[in-house]
Symmetry: C2
Subunit: 334 residues, 2 copies
DNA sequence: GCACGAAGTCGAAGCGCTTCGACGATCGAA
DNA sequence: TTCGATCGTCGAAGCGCTTCGACTTCGTGC
């Protein structure tokens, strides 16, 4: 392993000069800097973790991504990838924490490895990790907005507005009875923030528009789609529009409705809240509010990096929902 | 932050005694050890990364999981989770590296953070990361078996045997014309190890049994399933059995065949190589060779930890394929 | 021509921890 | 009783790096 003294010797300067030349924290003559840089390059010098010890900036972020039951894996994965990629762009690596020891894991990560900041996903309204998080004096960013966000930095899609946007769209199209097919029950039982906010927005907007509305957690298993479709139609005969906030169910549910003889959108309008590419999977492309997992991850990391630099950042950043009309929604005809 | 001197002061001993008491590397009287442990507990002491600097064991593993096009995300995620979980059980954390800078990332990880060992997934037959890996003198484990595995430690499902097992099973059932629906083309273009080995096993066994066989890369998009089903039947009129090694395509492809009027297994036997729970997704549960992602991740970490401890480990570990008969295969009747 | 500040460099200290070499105490064996 | 071995503990060194406080040159203004 090539160390800073090796570089110093080769460049004919002292270690501290190498440090300054490489970090730019003190003025160094062009001549010297060039020699140092050349030496570093020739030797393949890469600074060692000791940097963190000696007061250098830590360059690892911890990502707490508990993969809990009921979350759609590909979406989480996209988030993870965008986090890692963005972190790399800022010259940081990512330490991955999962379910196990969620709370203790945070503390451990903070001082065991040279973790500079924390990123939490799958945030619950009353997330048990928050007290620990507040007590740790490390910058952190939540991907998701808990009930009490005071003093925390949060980013998320504005799920409440997303729910409202769906209902507004359907109300404008003249629909009077709408249903939300949401995440699996366990997601609501945990009071997962995003699911809660979306449902809240959906219900509120429906009430405001005077629509009849109902909410149905959907199983994660696509095989349950046909049964669910039947149940919806049976329990709500006047139903003319469905909002699906459940990725694995979207395509099979659309198919199931068509199987039951409903034409989309003529007989039933379908909307979704999901990543854009999923919205085009069903036979009829689905009008949807985009779930920008990549953007969320990138934004979260950007904020965290800013906090690491001591730049003040907004407390809660909500990405405005983007609704894209596709072929699955139309004016109510029935 | 609580440091070792704090604990030492509170326990009324010197820092070195604390270190020894906690690590057990030298005999310490019960009395003293208890006091030290109590002090550490009271103060909430957790050792800092400096440990690595001073010659302690590094406790971070790097997981290089390039999420390349065409791989089935949920399977990778399962692998990742089992790696993280198992690593935690061994008191290690996991640094996640993705696509970007695959090769440089390895080197960086090794000396920037206190990474003790490396785990590579998505291994290609002639993986460009291998030279770098060999030059780094850090223990590593590949999840996947490249063409030249000499001097490396690899773990994987025995995909070759898996391919053979499928064909053997079908041959025993009297099938004479079989097809393999494989991973997306890009996976083969990269010469991804697992896909290659499975195809190889499939083809070899088919030849040995004198079966007519064909191989068809399958798109990742479920929507392409109906077309693919038609094409298969059209190009191979005598086809009576299909092996699917393509998770997202399994259910839609089964459905597509049934849609075309084929009864499974009466008219067409279907097999899969996939995680067990996916095999039960299609209407007719599919006879399958299990893809034990959890086991693979756990095993890989176990091996890596053993290597970190200096224990010799086998060069290549191949998990024997486990074939489970379900309702989708039967004796050829046609 | 001199004092003074800026530019450029260096040496040394210290980050939190482990580990090596001592050192006193205790104990059994001679 | 004495000697050596063992046990339990401590102090100090050092891991690779950053940073602070000098110190030495210069160039500039008067």
């Amino acid at each position: 392993m090539v160390k800073i003294t090796d570089v110093a010797r080769r460049a004919g300067v002292s270690p501290s000069t190498v440090s300054y030349a490489l970090s730019g924290k003190r003025p160094i003559s062009d001549e010297t800097r060039r020699r140092v840089e050349a030496a570093a390059r020739d030797l393949g010098y890469r600074p060692h973790a000791a940097r963190a010890l000696a007061g250098g900036e830590p360059n690892v972020l911890a990502l707490a991504a508990p993969l809990r039951a009921g979350v759609h894996v590909p979406v989480v994965m996209r988030l993870v990838v965008s986090v890692v990629t963005t972190a790399r762009a800022h010259d940081h690596d990512v330490l991955l924490l999962t379910q196990e020891e969620a709370e203790a894991g945070l503390s451990r990560a903070v001082d065991t490895a040279s973790v500079g900041g924390l990123l939490l996903t799958d945030v619950e309204l009353h997330d048990p990790r928050l007290p620990r998080l507040r007590s740790l004096d490390r910058p952190s960013v939540l991907i998701g907005v808990p009930a009490r966000a005071y003093g925390l930095t949060c980013v998320d899609l504005d799920f409440r507005a997303a729910g409202e946007a769906c209902v507004n769209h359907l109300a404008e199209l003249g629909h009077r009875t709408v249903a939300l097919v949401g995440s699996p029950p366990e997601v609501y039982l945990r009071r997962t923030a995003y699911a809660h906010h979306l449902m809240h927005g959906f219900t509120t907007a429906a009430t405001r528009h005077g629509l009849a509305s109902s909410v149905h957690p959907g199983g994660p298993d696509p095989a349950t789609a046909p049964r669910l479709a039947e149940r919806l139609l049976h329990e709500h005969p006047a139903l003319t529009a469905v909002v699906v906030h459940n990725e694995p169910l979207l395509a099979p549910l659309s198919a199931a409705f068509e199987h039951l003889g409903l034409r989309i959108p003529a007989d039933l309008s379908v909307m979704a809240v999901c990543p854009d590419d999923l919205a085009t999977t069903p036979r009829v492309p689905v009008t949807s509010v985009s779930l920008p997992a990549d953007e969320l991850g990138a934004h979260a990391v950007d904020l965290l990096i800013r906090k690491l630099h001591g730049t003040p950042v907004p407390e809660t950043t909500l990405l405005a929902p983007r609704l894209t009309e596709r072929a699955s929604t139309s004016r109510r005809t029935a």
